[in-house]
Structures are given as C-alpha cells and as structure tokens.
Symmetry: C2
C-alpha cells in the first residue's frame, strides 16, 4: 500500500510527529505553512455532516453518537492512527461510561457512580475531549513558557515535580462541562449544531477529584521571573489537534491573570486522586482551573503564553459564548455573546429517575449534586415536590462536607401526600446567595451552554398510606401485576358491579330538574 | 384446511353472521351464551400486548401503530375476515390519511385537508372506530326500537327515508374525538394504556359535515308513541364487535333523554355532505349527537333502547371517563371519574407547524380551528405570540361563518418583533364565555381525554426587518446555505477578524480595576 501524498509529498512528512516520545502530537501553532497545506487538503474533500439529534430522537446505543466528521478530518491528513489510538485508550481507561460521542471522546458518568461519594473515581470521571488523545512520555515532556513573561523558559516534569523548586499543593476540585444537562435545553428548543458535536449531556458531565501539582502563579514567578506589565491573560496550549471550519489548531484557551494570581485557583497538575493523571485526562500534565468551565482546564498542556488579550484560539474566542435568547443562526457572531468562564450555581436530581413510578408511604427519597463555581460554595439545597411552589431544605447533616471549589452531594426525604404525576425540582443557594432560574426557558441560549435552571423531573407518586391505593397495590400483587408497568392495562375489571352501581346511583351524572 | 372448532363445533356456527345482507355483524347483546363461549375461547389464548408508545418514541411509519391484539381477538373467534375487510374499506374510502391505528381503524386528517374549508371532505374526515367495519345492505337493514318505549317497533331504511312518515333535516355538525390533541398529554405525562389503543392523536381528530336524516325525538314520538315515564336515557347499539378484558359486546353507548328531546341535537343520519354515508362512517345509518364526544354518535346503529339508567356498555360505563389528576392505575375505578358527554371549548394551531423556522417581516401568519360543544359556539379566538402574556384577537372577518354545532376556522397575522424561539398559543372563548386552561398540566387526566388547554407551539422567529438578520440571510443565500437548516453549522466564520476585534476591544469581557 502506497502512503497517501499531497503534491508528491507523503502526508506523514507534511504533518509529522516530530518529537520522540510525543505520540499523536502535531505542532500547528508554530507552523502557519503546515496549517495552510492542511486546510488546502481539507477543502478538496467532502465530509459527513454531523448527526441530527436535536430535531430527531437521540439514539439509545452506546456509543450514543459517532463522530464521523471529525474522524474524517483526521483521516484526510493521514492521522487516522490518532482516532484509533484514542478509542483504545477509552476502552482501557473508561470502559464503563455512557459514551456520548466516540470521537473526540465525550463520556458521561453513570448515575450510580456519580453518587458513590464526594470524590469521583478516575475510572468514572466524565471526559469532554476536543480532539484525539496524545500519548506523551513523561521523561520526554517539556512545558514551554512564552509570550509576555519576563524570562521565557522550558521545564521538564522532573523540574516541576521537584519540591525544592516549586512548592506542591493538593486541591479538591469539581470540574464541570458547560454543557452539563444540555439535554434539557435540546428537549425544549434546538440550538447550535457545531461540527464538534455539542454532546447531549445529562446530569453526569461533572466530577470531583483531588489534584496534586504546583500553583501556576508560583511557577510563573519562580521560573519566569513574573510577567511583563501588559500581560493580562495566560494562554494554555494542548497537544491535541483541533479543527474549526477547515482550519487546524492545537487546542488553546486562556484565563485572566487576575484568576491565576490567586495562588490556589489555577494549578498545573500531574496527579488525580493519588494516581498519575490518566492519559485521557491529560497525562503527563494538565491545567486545573477552579470554578471555571472544564474547557479552560487544558489537558496535555505543553505551552503557556502570557498575552495582553484573551487567546484567539477558536475554543476561547469563537466557542463557549453565552448569548441572549434572541440570538441564533440568523444573527449570531463571535462578538455578540460573552465568554463563559466561571460556572454559576446549579444542581441536579440523580435519583429517582425522570418518569419513574415511586411507591412510598408519604415521603419520597431523593439524592443529587449541587455546585457553584467562581469561588462560591454550596450553602443550601432545597427540593420542591410541587413544581416549585413549596421548597424543603436538605438538612445540613445530609450534605457532604464543604470545599471551596467542589460540589456537595445531598440526600433528602420530601413529604409527598399527592398521588399521580408530580413535578419535583431542586434549587441550590450558594455562598453569595445566588440561586437558580426556575425554568429552562429562563436561561436557554443558542450554544446550549450552562443549563443552570432548577432541575425538574416528573414522578408518578403512589402513596400507600391512602387506603384505596393500598387496596389496589395488594390486589395487583395478588394477580401478578405491577404498578410500575404504568401504561399496561389492568387485566380484570376495576371494581365489582354492585360497588359501581352503588356509587353511580348515589352520585348520578345527570342533575335533577 | 379444516375449519377451527370449539368443543367440536365450527367457530362459524358458534359466532354466525345470521342476517342476510349483514356482513361482518355478529349479535352478542341478545346472546349471553354466545358471549360466554367467546370469553372461554379468549381465556385460553395469549395475545400480543399493546405497543408502548407513551414511554418510547411514536413510530414515524404509516400506519403508525398496528392493532395486533384486537386483530388476534377477532382471529381467535374465527372473525379474521372482519379485520381484512375493514382494511380493504380503509384503502378504498380513506386512502390518504394519517393511519394512526390500522385496526380498529383510527385515521387522522392531514393538516392541509383540515384547513380546506369549513366542511371536511368525506374522504378526509377523521375516523375513530372501536371494531371492524360491518357492511350492511340498505335494503336488508332494519332499526329496532326497544326498552322503555311505549310501542317497540322495527323500521326499514325505506320507512326512515319516507318524508311522509318522518320530516327530514340537515345539520352542519362538527364531530370530535375526545382524544383530539392527546399527544400533548402523552408528551408531558404517560397515562392509561388501554387494550383498545388510545391513539396518539394530533390536531386532526375533528371534522365537520352536513348530515341529512331525521330527528330521533320525532322518530321516537311518531313510530314508538313516545317513551315510558321512567325512560331517562337512549342507548344506541352498533353492529360492530367490541372487546373489553376478554368480554365481547356490540358497541353500545347512551345519551340522556333530555339531550334527545331537543329535536335538532340528535339525528339518525344516512347522508354526509350530500352523499350516502361512507361504509366506514356507518352506512346505512348512524347517530349524530351534536356537541358530544364523537363516541356517542354510534355508527351502524341497528337498535335503540330507552333505559332508566345510562347504558352499561363498557364504552359508556367504563371508558371516556374524566378523572382528577390524582387518579391513575393505583386507584382508578369506573365510578371515580365522570362520563364525558359535551365537549368543552378548544382550539388548535394548524399552521405553522411546531418547531418550524419562520422568516417574516414583523408578522407571523397562523391558521387553525376553534370549536365548542354543548350547544355553545365560538365567539372569539385569540392568539399569543409570547407564550400567553399578550393576546391578539382574530378579526371576525377572518373566521368562518357561525353554526350552532360546528367549528370555526380562522387565520390571522400576529405582530412578532422578537427573534429566536418563541412560544405561540391560541385560546378560544365560546358563547358562554368559557375559555381554555393555559397549560396541558392544568387539565391532564389518566384517560388522556379532552386536551382542551391553550394549544402551544414553538417557532423560531427570524425577523427580516432587523438589519443584522437581513444581512445574515443575504449572506447565507449567497453561500448556498439555508436558515431553515437551523442546527446545521454555518460553513464559514461568523464575522471578519477586524470586526470581531473592534467589538471585543470596545467592550472587553474583563472589568477595570
């Protein structure tokens, strides 16, 4: 088999993996000519459109969605091995997830794993990748500092991990995709269909881990001699390859210097819950930005630039933008939404599941998570069994411990007298007294980001303290039928004829003259 | 092939078509022993459960749902020919419908046919059958009067059609299935799953026709010498076979005498829009009850009984019951809901369709139907472009003519300045000042009947009077892209770099110190 070429040159020469020990990494940002050739090649090809899952049902397969288009981009540049290798890593490191998108890999934590404890096991922590997974030897790895730093420099992992050079720290951090609970927005109103699929996340694009590493502020100070006065933003460049409208990039985002100078809020991390970072989580080194959307916590970060303005990387300047409800395909621009950085207060009911039949004796047990970004923490969680009319606080004893930068899990039993379909919702109050909008529509936006409205589910309440209900449940059990099979007809008649006639004769439908 | 038998007797002898010229008709109500044998046979068989379409997506096939269970009931009794013949009649008389259920046949009128005029063409008028379609020769047909009439008698079609015996009348009548718009209730909360499938109707289970026939009141008076004093209800028995929990019936319903004694409200009809009744609509004779749910307008009516109490037929006593929202499988009885007779005021938006992109210059055109039963007529129709906050009346000129017992079609242009997703709804006020509940939840009920809340759709509004929108539409057209493909990403960048930078530098995201 001959290697594919472009104008006589093999693709592997045009888009080389240049650094020994850096598998799956192509440098794009330093190579404008390489970018241009890549774009020329992509422009000659046809690619499969993204699947339509907003105006059509979401498949109930696993993986749920297949990233044909992004795979084809890689293949067109001779980079199919990145696609294949990434999926191998998924199989090894994340075998038991809801695989929402197979490539770039987006995996959602299953409900039971989400509620296992305040720390999410590495194996189950959600993943939202924007490209393939590079595999970089720790010994070959170098982190480069550039831009408006006083002293550009390169650091090895050995340098970074040397406690005599940089003081180490551990931090318990919740990371959340800004698309968490996006499915609620999709169900009400379709929105942007990006070429990098906006995954239809449920409540599991969030997770918490203890990260070990060094404060970026201190590294900048110690290794780079600080920043030039005009530096206002720090840009993080990751080794993964990113595509946008037939342009090719390395992943790049930025956060303001003002965020970084809080020594405990932006760290360079190599350990997650006491273990080396999994490859799919950024091994050997990633950024962890507390309180911000997950997208800013760049993985496989190999270059940090101090800039006067935010990164022009498309993930920063053209995506994760928050629009007013009147903005959409007919008028959307990169400059008429604002960039999402801090995450607002939000929460989710994890158990029970939506549309379940709940047999109870006057109280329904619920559990879930609550979180607030931006340096706020969760102060109070309230649950409503009547669609938002009355609210019941979760007792403090039933919330997990507070951290400055992490969620709290909660459980509660809510009094429910009513039967039939009820709407149950949760809202959280954070340490700045922020709470959540009541309805999805209140905060719907074209990018389908930040679904922070009170999470709302429907339950079919069956209250066994009511005599008629207790009688019917016993009868169903006796006859081998289940109330949980709600829409399945009861096999026999609903009441004896004499009972029926006694009632309808006592209260006939037609009035007296 | 040997004919199937039960205890040595061929099924065709046990369940015979006894009357010459009465194809597809088996007498059950007069034959308790026959009913008992039928039940014994059914009890020995297993039947396919009804399809689950409330907790799973509704198929997008046509027919939408297949009535396996009801077909198997017929087959078990050697009556498969009724099933086959009914479908032949559908093909002939109703080829171009949304076939919601193939057997018993339920067909919904397509939107364009619904809006063609105040009279619905026979070919397109909706059908909600409860059994197979009998085929009865007009010359062989007889209508029997019994029960608490002063003079039991039989009438031929020739008798009934003789203007010297009974004065004839014509009436413009809207008939509506009490399940119209049921799909809205299903989408919010699943409910009863009957063995006779509760079809997931949209807005097309309604239609209007001019019926010709005789007033039932007058026939009772002239032919039967009136009713005995204790008679309070008139029961209508149809020639179709009906099943309920392995019991077998002829279709039977009733209406109060008080309704019948209004000479213009209950008629025996043989003509529909100037033509003989189509077979599927009840040829040679049906009842038409104005203002009531369609189920009371029995087809193929061959027996009318005067009764002291409502019919004990399951369609009357065990179905079409209206329950409170706290009643469901856990406590539902035949006696804790009330029987649905008159239909309340209701309406539907037929155009535009839900979730459509609407490109307009400040006004959105809409059309639909409005109806009220119970002797009320439509006085006013109002449309809201903002989810029910402001309401705009449809000018009287844009409503079709009033009839005592028929709908009004309407069209209107509503001012819409807003862009993006809007919720548009309609409500109607009738001649008694009744109007519609605002939300589906306000009137949800276990039987999923009478979806009379303000009909609500979502539209994506694109207002070309806005300069940014006009510019984007022109650009899309120039580049061969369509705003209607809402979720398909725009191929090129959203704005030139210099424009982007000018805006984000003028209004930077980060504040001043």
């Amino acid at each position: 088999m001959t290697e594919p070429t472009y104008q006589g040159k093999p693709l592997s020469q045009l888009f080389p993996e240049e650094r020994a020990g850096w598998k799956g990494y192509i440098e794009w940002e330093d190579c404008p000519e390489r970018k241009a050739i890549g774009r020329e090649i992509l422009k000659t090809k046809k690619f499969t459109p993204s699947p339509e899952f907003q105006l059509a049902p979401i498949p109930d397969t696993n993986p749920v969605l297949i990233g044909w288009r992004y795979k084809e981009y890689h293949e067109a540049l001779g980079l199919k091995h990145i696609v294949d290798h990434s999926w191998e890593i998924v199989q090894k490191e994340k075998p038991d997830m809801i695989h929402l998108l197979d490539f770039p890999y987006n995996g959602e934590t299953r409900r039971d794993k989400l509620m296992e404890g305040k720390i999410t096991d590495n194996k189950y922590h959600f993943i939202r990748n924007h490209g393939g997974v590079p595999e970089i030897d720790e010994d070959a790895f170098e982190l480069e500092f550039g831009g408006l730093v006083n002293k550009p420099c390169n650091l090895t992992m050995k340098d970074l991990k040397d406690p005599n050079k940089f003081p180490q720290m551990e931090l318990t951090v919740t990371l959340q995709c800004s698309g968490t609970r996006r499915i609620e927005q999709i169900k009400e109103y379709p929105g942007e269909g990006d070429e990098l699929i906006q995954a239809p996340w449920g409540e599991g694009a969030i997770g918490t881990a203890v990260y070990r590493g060094v404060s970026l502020k201190k590294v900048l100070k110690i290794a780079c001699g600080g920043l030039k006065p005009e530096a206002q933003h720090l840009e993080f460049i990751g080794a993964d390859t990113y595509f946008k409208k037939l342009n090719i990039f390395n992943y790049a985002v930025s956060v303001p210097w003002r965020k970084v100078r809080n020594a405990e809020e932006v760290i360079l991390a190599w350990e997650m819950n006491g273990k080396p970072l999994p490859k799919i989580h950024g091994y050997p080194l990633r950024v962890v930005v507390t309180g911000y959307i997950g997208a800013r916590s760049a993985k496989w970060v190999y270059k940090i630039n101090a800039l006067a303005e935010p990164s022009m990387g498309p993930v920063q300047s053209q995506e994760y933008l928050y629009y007013t409800p009147q903005i959409g395909k007919h008028n959307v621009k990169y400059s008429n939404g604002f960039s999402i950085q801090n995450m607002p207060v939000s929460s989710a009911i994890i158990f029970p599941l939506d549309k379940k039949v709940i047999v109870h004796a006057g109280k329904i047990a619920m559990q879930g998570w609550s979180y607030s970004g931006g340096g706020n923490w969760v102060e109070r969680v309230e649950v409503s069994p009547d669609g938002g009319h009355t609210w019941w606080a979760v007792p403090q004893e039933q919330l997990t411990q507070k951290h400055y930068h992490a969620w709290r899990l909660w459980q509660v039993e809510v009094p429910v007298e009513a039967e039939g379909w009820i709407e149950v919702c949760v809202r959280t109050w954070d340490s700045s007294n922020n709470t959540e909008p009541t309805f999805v529509r209140s905060a719907w936006n074209w990018g389908l980001h930040v679904t922070s409205s009170a999470h709302r589910i429907k339950l079919y309440s069956v209250n066994t303290t009511r005599p008629e209900t207790a009688k019917r449940l016993a009868w169903l059990e006796e006859h081998g039928e289940r109330i949980e099979d709600l829409t399945v007809p009861i096999k026999e008649g609903l009441e004896p004829l004499d009972e029926y006639l006694a009632t309808v004769r006592k209260f006939p439908r037609e009035p007296e003259s």
